[in-house]
């Protein structure tokens, strides 16, 4: 009888321990990810995939919560993004969505997440109209009405001393917003926009557009795009046009520019909110780990993607015991004191943030930081 009682007591103790939080397995949360794994922006999509997985693995290793990323390829196509957003929204086990890369893709998905009541946190969408489309739409890239004016005032006028500027830009939601914001500021600064050409996102041949720009003899040209920037730089070099300084708004410190344009990209000027160099030790260590897995060095885009996973994890943690799609939205919007790899992040009421920018140049086949964050003062 005594033995039986001891046995019963032991079983009770085991059950009690198993039920206590210390022994409970961490709860798994499924997060949908949409990124352009293939297509023109594949470099960025692959960067998203790797950086987000790195962040999820680190969070899972700590054991407090567990994140499972469901990654789908949107091909950089807004139609695909809308379809994927619908699939994620219809699956009740998906708690939030991360992505997409371009503003166009995010803006196609925004009405769907708004209706379904699920967070869409984009690492990179920078069209100022995107985040205000829905209270569920968020972005941490900074807005084009912040970067484009900085580009006009500080890169073109103050740093490069431009007078006559030619613009070539992708006719997309992002491109239009970058272009319009740049033009407004350039006019305020007294810059003379001598040529202004645009093209559709899947364009291959820029020879006519380049001839149009060249006729007006600008001293600087601004390429506003991401994946096609190397193609345009190469076709400018191919046309034998050497007496112009090339600048670009949009691609960040993309490794593709160095790989695809090689010496044609020498002297290129661009802006980025985040730059990885030897002085920035935690970012450098992260970039080295990223490069080991990816085989190429990260730009600001995968760094932002890495931060989005930590942001979602923080919002889940702050939700307490009852984690819902709505609680994640509330806690993301009200998150305070978050410092990510790319700096402090606190959302404004619209759901996006303003950032500070650096000027970077290509010198001897490498990106070199030319100014610090104080340059804009």
């Amino acid at each position: 009888m005594k033995k039986k009682l001891i046995g019963l007591a032991l079983i009770c103790v085991i059950f009690a321990l198993a039920a206590s939080p210390a022994f409970a397995a961490p709860k798994t949360y499924r997060i949908g990810v949409m990124a352009p794994i293939t297509g023109t922006n594949a470099e960025y999509g692959k960067g998203f995939q790797i950086a987000m997985k790195m962040a999820a693995d680190e969070i899972n290793a700590k054991g407090e919560i567990k994140l499972e990323l469901i990654i789908k390829d949107s091909k950089g196509d807004p139609k695909e993004s809308a379809d994927i957003a619908r699939q994620f929204a219809d699956d009740p086990s998906i708690m939030a969505i991360l992505g997409d890369f371009t503003s166009s893709c995010c803006m196609a998905a925004a009405p769907i997440v708004d209706e379904a009541g699920i967070v869409l946190l984009s690492p990179t969408a920078s069209n100022p109209d995107y985040a205000s489309m829905s209270k569920y739409a968020f972005s941490i890239m900074g807005r084009q009405d912040g970067e484009a004016p900085f580009f006009a005032t500080y890169l073109l006028k103050k740093y490069a001393g431009a007078k006559n500027v030619g613009l070539i830009w992708v006719n997309s939601d992002w491109g239009k917003s970058a272009h319009d914001n740049l033009v407004i500021q350039a006019k305020k600064e007294g810059l003379n926009i001598v040529a202004d050409v645009n093209y559709l996102p899947d364009e291959k041949d820029f020879s006519s557009a380049i001839a149009k720009l060249r006729r007006e003899k600008p001293d600087h040209i601004v390429i506003m795009d991401q994946g096609l920037v190397p193609n345009i730089i190469n076709q400018i070099a191919q046309a034998g046009w050497t007496d112009v300084r090339i600048t670009t708004l949009g691609p960040g410190t993309s490794e593709q520019i160095l790989n695809l344009s090689k010496k044609n990209a020498e002297g290129l000027l661009l802006t980025t909110p985040f730059f990885i160099d030897a002085d920035n030790k935690p970012a450098k260590a992260w970039a080295d780990r990223f490069a080991q897995i990816a085989g190429f060095f990260p730009t600001v885009h995968p760094a932002c993607a890495y931060d989005t996973v930590y942001l979602i994890a923080a919002a889940i943690r702050n939700s307490g015991d009852k984690v819902t799609r709505e609680s994640i939205r509330e806690n993301l919007q009200n998150l305070k004191g978050f410092v990510g790899l790319t700096g402090p992040i606190q959302f404004n009421p619209a759901g996006d943030i303003f950032r500070k920018y650096l000027i970077v140049a290509v010198e001897n086949g490498k990106f070199v930081r030319k100014t610090d964050y104080e340059y804009a003062k």
Partner: protein, 291 residues
């Protein structure tokens, strides 16, 4: 005026690449007797064959042309075996769907094998410019046009001066009559399909050299332009297809000159529609039944 001249030169160069793609396309449609949707992928594979040849053996254009021609011609054999050989007497839509499926298969395989990223095709031809100010040719434009003209000339000789060429023309015109004359229609169609695909492959190499980059998804728009140029030429008429390609390149570039590069495809397809309304048989003189 200089500016318009330079845009015409750009248009001729782009049109020459379209012309070569369209010539290949018309040869395929002529001998097989069916429209194909794999031509874009054949063009892409030719570009990749040239890319890896340049990587391994250095930037030799002649070897590049041979490699891209042969690689795409082999892919042409595969396409023929999968899409056409068994379906000559079946309803047309079967091979048509088959070419669409094969095109997806080839594109996705290419993405897996070659990776989804753009690859650089730099310095195959040095950046040289011959001319004054905006007007002039770049070296790469001259090479593109010269390659297209020489290949078209070789194809002309092949079709008009060799036994195989005459057999191909016979099969293209009437398969039953050709068979009655003792021509092996299947083998001749296989050869014709491979030659057409090979020419597409060289066009792919030229596209990659001209735009200095290549990617597994480049075939989609290229195939569409080849198809449009070929339709302009009456689908099976080879010289007219070449003229169709040239016109398309010129119309696109002149359209961009007067408006925006965003309207490139609009100009191309409005031109195609107008030509088809005025002259439904295309530029070719042949008014017989389309395949």
């Amino acid at each position: 005026m200089d500016y318009y001249l330079s845009q015409i030169i750009n248009g001729i160069c782009q049109g020459s690449i379209y012309a070569l793609m369209a010539i290949g396309y018309s040869v395929v449609v002529g001998v097989v007797g069916l429209v194909t949707f794999t031509h874009g992928e054949v063009i892409m594979l030719g570009a990749f064959a040239a890319y890896y040849t340049f990587e391994l053996l250095g930037n030799n254009l002649v070897i590049g042309v041979l490699a891209s021609f042969l690689a795409s011609a082999f892919v042409g054999i595969f396409i023929f075996k999968v899409c056409y050989e068994r379906f000559f007497n079946a309803p047309r839509h079967i091979s048509l769907i088959c070419t669409i499926g094969t095109s997806m298969l080839l594109r996705n395989l290419a993405q897996i094998i070659f990776g989804p990223n753009n690859k650089p095709m730099l310095e195959v031809v040095p950046n040289r410019f011959y001319g004054q100010g905006v007007v002039g040719f770049t070296l790469v434009q001259l090479i593109v046009i010269a390659t297209v003209i020489s290949l078209s000339f070789l194809l002309f000789i092949f079709f008009n001066r060799t036994r195989w060429g005459i057999m191909l023309r016979a099969v293209s015109q009437d398969k039953t009559a050709a068979a009655m004359m003792g021509i092996n229609v299947r083998l001749t169609a296989l050869l014709g399909n491979s030659i057409g695909c090979g020419l597409g492959g060289v066009a792919g190499m030229l596209l990659a050299i001209y735009y200095q980059t290549l990617v597994a998804t480049m075939g989609g728009s290229a195939g569409m332009k080849a198809f449009s140029s070929s339709v302009l030429g009456g689908l099976t008429n080879i010289p007219s297809a070449a003229v169709g390609g040239l016109c398309l390149g010129l119309v696109e570039n002149l359209g961009i000159t007067i408006s925006s590069a965003s309207f490139r495809d609009m100009f191309a397809f409005v031109f195609l529609l107008l030509v088809l309304i005025v002259k439904p048989e295309g530029f070719g003189r042949k008014t017989g039944v389309r395949p």
